[in-house]
Symmetry: C3
Subunit: 442 residues, 3 copies
């Protein structure tokens, strides 16, 4: 059997489940797709995905081999020479599935000798829009959420398909960095100079994003962050210093990110937006790595630090992703108790079948099915959505077949109800357009 | 196949194991059964179990829908309308198994339309004692341990069947709370005013409990607790202040709980009682939740904090349960090294087949079989003991079949030896009546 | 089916994989073998392995039953009486496999009644060297790495077979202990009195070890250790005080171990030696335990604490083992990003099939295959290498069969490529003799 078949050798109930599950459209609630260039224009945009460059670098490839200043074809050739070192990984299997699905590749493994043919077949610099459309249809995409900078003009694409999502890392974590305040002023027209100005500006951002069809706010938070109720008086001076680009003490940094984060949650409440929390990454742990391959985590995190947030904002839905694979069990418990905490997808270092299977089994056994947010692609190019979702859908089918159909005696139909909620119905419901009621309440 | 069969579709060795295992009586070393009303008198006492109210609340049901002031039938109807949101969970499967086993239900899922019939069939307000007896026999119960407040009069039931167990949370963690001291004085007749009075009173409690057939002492401990040898001199003043209801500083609280906990361990040593440690919960993390559904945990715990206790009290058996599922592997290692540390059951947020299977596999592979304390129900009503034990017995049978019979080439008989120890022989031996020798030594 | 067959009942692809994998020679990159007495001279040297004494003690055997002053046969008899309490453990299965492979035993379980026969058949006090050779050949050993004290004369054996490895715990963690400095002076001839003298002495050790064929440096590090760049000026005084045996403050201890550890890494860089990091143990957590059975761990560790080390020493290969089973997922992520971090084996409390299977699945799915260092025996006697490697090889075959052949549609040959790298090719390449280039650069 070849890698071609998404079914491979699975048990009969798993096969039956997977056949049905693959018929559903894909609703992808988190990605880094560029709506102006959603599909890859060449093979370099596929092989340039940080998973390949970082794994190849980890296996010995100098970072310079994929430097931005090289011609795309040279980067591809350099990387392809390293693929044999990592052809065991699940990330490599996505690549083969892409080549087979989208580029007429027929082999099981991709090596340097395949590059000339593949490069030509994957070149779409002249038929970009048509190619975007072809990949979209082949993937059977219904919607894909973006990750938009706060000053993204949000113009020039269909927001029903490419759904805006306000990414707020720059505001919550990098307010003091040069440029942030200027970008904020430029984006909002507000003369941001103090806490109240900041609030006005962020309110303007939410207004604009929601008006342009945004359906979520998102942020990634480091392991040492613990949300706490804002203490506006204490924050006034640090915020002003940050907005003026002055040096800050560590406790001031801490005050600022706590204050801004809490303010973001308040706006999510006001605007009826879910707030995606992506918990765990530490940036630039390995500074000499390739672009996108420098971040890691400290596994010593706990959702216990988020209790004040979850309690205070009972009206805000928090789809939560955790980065450390061993933190997954705690997320099950918090989703089981807090109505507004929903386990969402399997993120980055946890996005590996071994970890997905373990987490998914527990989520299905202990979290109400109407709260499961199955999967998102986190992709930068459309082509990756299909193989990533297929990986998840296989694990989901195997898990439901083994744990529910075989061990619990469920019918296939009953198992499909759970799968449908996790993959389609729940994401549609949780990430629907903010209701008039919520908007009116502002 | 329906939910009726506890066997469902399992492998042949698993089925053979399970058939035999289900013949054994159930020895349940930890529950919250009320010996005066052990079985449920109506469906509200089944559906009112915090697992259903908290999961339904987590899935969107207002807490008010199951408020204590509502009539029982209204609570049941409110909850039943929500069951479809959580019918994927293992807790729901217990409910169906109860309805099928005890209430003549024949379906696979319970919905609002089933409530009228089920409510009537589950009503036992007039034949309570006979019903208790019927559930006891159907469950094939040998003994079930209670969780008794320290001032429980311990009278009015058969202590061979409903075995008293001294729960000490109020003493160790809530000595300063209004009422604790008064209850202690009332229960012991000791005029508790200082550390020595406290010791005398607690000694009196142990005397009374052991005289009335108690076979264990138990306590649940928060993640930030670290037992340490008592420093009586340092504790004298804080203890006196607590006993008088005065305000306490955090370090005084800490001194008090360390001192009282150590004292409890000393009495366990004196009286030959096992001391059940249930490690991890934080109370009231989600105060707006339903009753029983407000506690969670911080996963950053380690048994390393318990080293002084395990070393000092080498004569006390510590059956240990940990709450954070990811802490299970550490418990395996501590049980492997410390003679007096025994892994006990699968508790609360860890009591889910996915976590049980992972923990059990490791315990069976690395902890001497004479130390395995397989399972306890933690139940509030007798009806739950059977489906919970059946869940565990299925996982046990599958684990032994897969890991031992298939992979290690064991005979079914050899696998059954391990199962018998874990489920019956070890609990009987560890929780036998305190020996005369131990008593004489006081 | 009996324990005789290493294949037992496995799936067809697993059997096919295992048959081939078992034909390869064993390259064992970490052990505690004594090259002067590699195989056991009697049954006491088998049953005296700390796994048996600690598990038997944990199950109730007094430590005195295996005291060093007892005659070997008495120790064996005392221990054999306890074996029935732990015959479920995987460690026990190694024992049966040894008895069957090396001592003509034919049963499935070993009890007191087997001791007389087994003791006689396992006695090799008169044919030691021939026996060493026989065990070596039966095991199909290619090389086994030792753990040599820094003052080991490294003479009297074939270093191609028994490869020296410099164990540096005494230097990094116990410099202040009586004897360390004297041993260092005696081993190097350097009059170690200050930081510079210490550097000269350690340099001399590396010179001698590499000249005598050492191919790795190794150290085990406690959970509270965090490597950091040496601050020589700050370390000068504490190092001098330690070398003179004066009392040290905690911060001085910390400074010393950080400084010496960093120095060791510098020498690994200079000499082109891989630096095995074995992260996690706390020594003497249970002081009343049997020899070798007193250490445990605190699970709250993170590789995040090692970022400065991994970044600074980009030219040093760090094969990493972690002790807490729940830390395994983090090691996958760090190995996926840092080129110089390689996941190595499954250590001690993590060396149990349940934990190996979970870790291995993730490593195979997410770490480039050229970085996998499959397994090491950690054995004290040659006889243990075969059953331990067989345990691992079974899990490896099952994992590759289930996850890759069945679920991913790989051919058996493709799965064998990964297995061969993990077990043979990668260890050979990573632990090759230090290159001339590296040596010349000193």
């Amino acid at each position: 059997m070849t890698a071609e078949s998404p079914f491979r050798r699975v048990s009969e109930p798993a096969r039956e489940l997977l056949e049905e599950i693959r018929r559903w459209p894909i609703f992808d609630p988190h990605s880094h797709i560029d709506p102006h260039r959603p599909a890859a224009r060449d093979l370099d945009e596929i092989l340039g995905y940080h998973y390949y460059t970082e794994l190849a670098h980890s296996a010995g490839m100098p970072a310079a081999d994929v430097a931005p200043e090289l011609p795309p074809r040279a980067r591809v050739e350099n990387l392809a020479r390293r693929l044999a070192t990592l052809d065991n990984t699940v990330q490599y299997s996505w690549l083969v599935e892409i080549a087979r699905t989208f580029h007429g590749f027929e082999g099981d493994r991709i090596g340097p000798e395949d590059v000339p043919g593949l490069y030509d077949r994957a070149l779409h610099d002249r038929d970009g829009a048509a190619w975007d459309e072809k990949v979209w249809r082949t993937t059977n995409l219904e919607a894909v959420f973006l990750t938009n900078d706060f000053d993204d003009p949000l113009e020039g694409w269909d927001v029903e398909k490419y759904v805006p999502c306000l990414r707020t890392d720059d505001l919550a974590l990098k307010l003091h960095r040069p440029g942030t305040v200027e970008r904020l002023k430029a984006a909002t027209g507000v003369d941001v100079g103090d806490l109240e100005g900041l609030r006005a500006a962020i309110g303007a951002l939410f207004e604009r994003f929601v008006a342009r069809g945004a359906r979520a706010c998102a942020v990634s938070l480091p392991p040492d962050f613990a949300p706490r109720p804002a203490a506006p008086k204490r924050a006034v001076t640090p915020i002003r210093r940050a907005l003026r680009g002055l040096d800050l003490r560590p406790d001031e940094h801490d005050e600022i990110r706590a204050t801004v984060f809490w303010m973001l949650a308040e706006f999510c409440a006001d605007f009826g937006l879910p707030f995606d929390l992506m918990i765990g990454p530490v940036r630039d742990v390995y500074p000499a790595g390739v672009a996108g391959g420098r971040d890691l985590f400290d596994r010593r995190v706990s959702l216990y630090e988020y209790r004040a947030l979850f309690n205070h904002f009972s009206g805000v839905t928090f789809p939560v992703s955790t980065l450390a694979p061993d933190a997954g069990a705690e997320l099950v418990a918090y989703s089981w108790i807090f109505p507004n905490v929903l386990p969402m997808g399997h993120w980055w270092y946890s996005n590996v079948p071994a970890f997905i299977a373990a987490d998914l089994k527990a989520r299905i056994q202990a979290v109400p099915k109407v709260k499961l947010l199955g999967y998102y692609s986190d992709a930068y190019k459309l082509e990756f959505i299909l193989p990533k979702f297929d990986m998840y859908r296989r694990v989901l089918a195997e898990t439901l077949a083994g744990e529910a159909v075989v061990k619990q005696g469920w019918t296939v139909e009953r198992a499909l109800e759970v799968a449908k909620l996790a993959l389609v119905d729940n994401p549609r419901r949780v990430f629907e357009k903010p209701s008039r009621a919520a908007r009116a309440a502002i």
